[in-house]
C-alpha cells in the first residue's frame, strides 16, 4: 500500500501546485494593464454647440485634434486658454486649417449647446463646444483621465477642473498636452510637431 499512497500524495501535491500556478498566472494577467485601460482618449459622442450629436472619432478620422475640459462660468483660465489657443491656431497657419479643439463642458447643467456657441463665438471658429448629460460628460472625462468637481461658493457653485489641453494624433492616439503655464513658443512647437506627425 505504501507505494500507491506515495503516488497519490505526489498527484495531490502536483494538483495543488498546478492550481497555485494557474492562480498566479491569472492574477498576473488581471493586474497587467489591458489595452482598454492603457488608452487615453479615443472616440466619444456628445452634443456639439450647433445642436447635433457628433462622434469625435468619426469626425476627426485621419486628422489630429485637441480636447479641453472647461466651463463658461469660469472667470479666468477658460477664456484665457481659449484666447491663447485661438492665437496659437492662427500662428500655426495653413497646417492647422482643419485642426479642431473640442471644448468639453464640465458644467453641462449650465452649459447648453446655445450657451457654448455664444461663448465660443468670441474665439477661433475651430473651437467646438461640446456638452451632454452629466453621465456622458463623466464618461468622456474618465476616458480622458480629466478631473472635475463641483465646489460650492456662497452664491452657487464653481468647478475645479483639469486645465491642460490634450492633443491627439491623426490615428486618434494621445500625443501630449498643452499646459497653460507653457510659453506660446513651446506650445507652437508642440502643435507643429503634432500637425507634421
Amino acid at each position: 500500500m505504501a507505494p500507491s499512497s506515495n503516488v497519490l500524495r505526489l498527484i495531490r501535491w502536483s494538483a495543488w501546485g498546478l492550481v497555485g500556478l494557474l492562480a498566479a498566472v491569472s492574477l498576473y494577467l488581471t493586474l497587467q494593464p489591458g489595452p482598454t485601460q492603457a488608452v487615453l482618449g479615443g472616440p466619444f459622442t456628445l452634443t456639439s454647440m450647433t445642436g447635433e450629436r457628433r462622434n469625435v472619432g468619426e469626425a476627426e478620422k485621419g486628422r489630429p485634434y485637441a480636447v479641453f475640459f472647461g466651463f463658461t462660468h469660469c472667470p479666468d483660465i477658460c477664456p484665457t486658454a481659449m484666447y491663447e489657443t485661438s492665437q496659437l491656431l492662427e500662428k500655426a497657419g495653413e497646417a492647422a486649417k482643419d485642426f479642431r479643439v473640442y471644448f468639453v463642458s464640465v458644467d453641462p447643467e449650465r452649459d447648453t449647446a446655445e450657451q457654448l456657441k455664444l461663448y465660443l463665438s468670441a474665439f477661433d471658429p475651430r473651437l467646438i463646444g461640446m456638452t451632454g448629460t452629466p453621465e456622458e460628460i463623466a464618461a468622456v472625462a474618465r476616458q480622458h483621465r480629466a478631473f472635475y468637481r463641483k465646489v460650492p461658493t456662497p452664491s452657487g457653485y464653481t468647478m475645479d477642473h483639469t486645465a491642460t489641453i490634450l492633443l491627439f494624433d491623426r490615428k486618434g492616439a494621445f500625443f501630449g498636452t498643452l499646459d497653460p503655464k507653457e510659453s506660446q513658443d513651446a506650445q507652437l512647437a508642440k502643435l507643429t510637431r503634432l500637425l507634421r506627425s
Binding site: 463658461t72 462660468h73 469660469c74 472667470p75 479666468d76 483660465i77 477664456p79 484665457t80 481659449m82 484666447y83 491663447e84 492665437q87 449650465r110 450657451q115 455664444l118 461663448y119 465660443l120 463665438s121 468670441a122 474665439f123 478631473f147 465646489v151 461658493t153 456662497p154 452664491s155 452657487g156 464653481t158 475645479d160 477642473h161 483639469t162 486645465a163 491642460t164 498636452t177 499646459d179 497653460p180 503655464k181
Partner: protein
Amino acid sequence: MSTRLRAALTGLLIAAAPLAATAQTAAPASSIALTQPWARATPPGAKVGAGYLVIENRGAAPDRLLAARTPVANVVEIHEMAMEGGTMRMRALGNGLPVAAGGRAELKPGGYHIMFIDLKQPLKAGDSIAGELVFEKAGTLPVKFMVMPIGATPGAGHQHH
C-alpha cells in the same frame, strides 16, 4: 480752552481727515491705496468675470478686504484660484483677504481675484466698471476697473514692479 481739550479736538480733526478724503475720490489720505484696477473682458454669454488690482496698506495696522460691490454684477465674491498639477481650483475666501500693515495684496490672473457673478451685461474692452471695496478698517472705498481685452495679462496696461 484747556490744552487737553485742544489736543483732543486736534486729534479728532486728524482722525476725521481721512474720512473726509474717502468721501471724495481715491482717498489719498486713506491707509489703503488701490492701484491699477482692471477686469478681463468677457466672451458673449459669460455670466462671470474677474477683477484685479493691487491693494497697498500704508497704515500701521493690518486690514482686510471683506467684500466688493458693483452695479454690473448681482453677486461679487473674493476668490482665490490656484493651478495644482494641471488642475484649476477656485475657492471663495470666507474671511476676506488680509493685507498686512505696510504690506500689499496683489489680485491677478492665476491667483486672488474679485469675482463678478451673474453679470448683467458683458464686460467690454475699453469700458470701465465702477465699484466699491469694503475694508474692515479703511471702510468703503470707490474703485474703477478698466476693462481690458480677453487676452490681457497682468501689467498689460501698466508696469508696477
